[in-house]
Amino acid sequence: MNIGAFILRRLILQIFVLLGLSIFTFLLMFGLPGDPAAILYSAGGSLGFEEYNHFREKWGLDLPIWKQYTNFITNLMRGDMGTSLVTRTPIFDEIKSYFPATIELSIVAFIFACIMGLPLGIISALKRNSWVDHTIRAVSLFGVSMPIFWFAIILLIIFYFYLGIIPSSQRIDLDMEIPRHITGFYIIDTIAVGDWTALLNVLHHLILPAFVLGFSVVGLLARVTRASILEVISQDYVRTARSKGLQEKTVISRHVLRNALIPTVTILGLLVGGLLSGAVLTETIFAWPGVGRFAVQSIMLLDRLAVVNVTILVGIVFSTANMIVDITVAFLDPRIRY
């Protein structure tokens, strides 16, 4: 099968995956105790009944679950994600407003994780059983096992409160004007208008949340890289390369890394999921107006359509990332064909 057919097959399968995901999330949201109309109108007490019933009728909450689901899917096919029950705003607009913040944060965190995780894994493997290896493994273990929430607060206390070198929260200083929305990615938007002061400020604000989010997966990445390098380094072809008199640098870069990177690249696809789920906590602590916080608020207020749409979107990102990984692996290893 050529790569084009492979991508097409994956895209078709993705539709079924997303359909299953939407049904599962829909059922799960309906399974939760509570009723969004009751949450919004219980403050009106017994006098809120008319509004409550009107609200349920207006938003189709009085319809059977299957009908609500088919309405949702039909509208989605037409590109209509529905309207948020809570904010009365089209969910598409909501997601369009929040998603760039999450993606921007996740990309920087991902870059950070790669820059840190890959070299640490390589060094750890090459210096196997030395103090360097032990230190890197300890740091990796710390990264994997440490709760994001706790780590973020500790870093805020040190770097924001005591040292004063990092901003506390949000995407840009409260004193600065929010960049004009072009893409919603503040880095791109500030570059587009040539506002370099704002760009620096935006980057400054990204450092700590991206570090915290990225560090949560650095450990995993370093450990997988280390393990796969150790496995490859003991292979016969590596010994052969060395015995041919190749320089160690060449052996490592050409023969070890290329083969060892296959499991690492595979794990990178899964890490995207880790970053997206970690973004929920990171966004809360750093007051980052991303889709993670929107999802949490939607869950709390039982804004079912919003939750299902966010879940589908995250599903699309996750499955696309894994498809890219599969394609990359095929390029890295010519033996792999789909």
């Binding site: 403050a43 007490g45 017994s46 809570v86 924001y160 004063g164 506390s168 409260l174 602590i285 007051a287």
Partner: protein
Amino acid sequence: MIACSTTETVEVIKEVPVEKVVEKVVEKEVEKIVEKEVIKEVAPAPTYAKSIKVRDVFFFNEGFTPPRGGSFFEHRVSQQIYEGLTALNTPMVTRGDEATPVPNLASAWKISADGTTYTFTVRDGVVFTTGNPLNAQAVVDSLKRSFYVIDLDKATARFSWITDVVSVEATGEMEVTMKLKNAFAPLLAILASKQFLIVDAAELKKHEKDSDWGAAWGATNSVGTAAYGISGWEPEQRLTLKRNPDYWGGHDGVGPGADELIFANIPENATAELMMAKGEVDVALQMDPISLKTLDLNPKVYTFSYPSLITCNYLIDRRNEHAKNDKVLEAIKYSIDYDGLLNTVAMGLGKVHQSLILPGMLGHDASISNRYTYDPEKAKALLAEAGYPDGFSIKIQNRAGACGSVVYSKGVEFLQASLKKSGIKATIEQSTGSKFWGQIGKGELRDLGISGLGATYFDPDNPASVRATSECFSLGIEAVDPTAAARLKELVAQGRAETDNAKRHNIYKELNEIMVSKCGELTVLQVSDTVALRTNMTDGIAMPHAFSIDFRYLRKE
């Protein structure tokens, strides 16, 4: 040297009383400041701070333009950008004095002898932030728009008085006449509440979509007359209000102290605590009790609490097989450890308050609102008299939610433990808001439950009409005591019709007495709001009806 030393000694001795005098002066100064905060004699700010940054937690629901927007955040923002024909004297509300409405966008009014016709004189020289002048027609359009949107949202049941409005007309360039079918004394207080603040309805009409009279557009745009207008709204991130340069000065002559008010959405308390301690934000709202206690230890931060208009209540239907007996109802009231509930569950943020009418409202009487104390022995005796020497069993419905700092699940667990000491065996059953309110609506609730309710306008008619004629009846008062039920209805009607405050006080006092002794709604606490401020922020005045402080009073040094 000796001489010098002697001299120094003498001087020191002389300095002692001087130091004491200085201390007294300082004490007096402090007293003055406190008094100033309460009486609101703050001079208009000659210069403006660049900005005041406020930590908040956004819950954006329907927006900032009246009558929509029910979240606390929307309430407090609305009160900064819109004004009513009348206003509440916020320091008096905070203090618990009887707070009667004062002129605001209406500079004066006349009420006909029968109480059915209100003639308002619209204040001259006021302009909307849109540039349009405030006049009688603008006021009429604004009120009619409020009625229209309330009807559109099917919320008329909560504002039933609007069905009594016969006409609202401009009877002069600067005169508005509102005619009602029946006398309605709470009107002046209601006109100060969020739903009836004055908006530039003509401007909103230009942005109409789906016959909503600009409600959707108004969600994030401001068309008011108050001290601030919206200059930037970034969902989930930041709301920036800019000082209205043409502000007329307000009913109390207090202009804003800053060019910008920036509300930052900082959901995590730990982050907000660090930002306050560091001085990145000047004011912190919605802090959790633990963070507030930590901030209180910071010399650069101070906190102040004020009673909110929210009460926490336990509910039981009087048709419950046990609670239909007055003695059992009374026994339940003596079984509740009010102080324990306040200090542990509410973390001290509030005060014990057992009636639906709040301090400062006509009809409030401390002997009614603090009648019951925790007395399990007395409860047991009452139960024995009622024929339950060994107590009885009952269910308590728990559900998600909170009333101020009282998380419902904790409040329910606390009630269970309290009742146990009087011999009442309560089991907790998980429920939902729709089930709970649904049962109340159908008159089918037979378990105990918990709720939190706030007042939307500061007049005893609010708790009286919402609770005495609705919830008390939904909770079965008519079935166990039809005489009391009928009297409640009479008193609510009398309270609405009576324009003499002294007489209204007595009417609501009697109504309150009946509600406390007969109604299945057992109010237990009036919760407090607490605000943290940096020490360079002064003159914070609480605005309980807006779930906030009045930011106009804030001065940043």
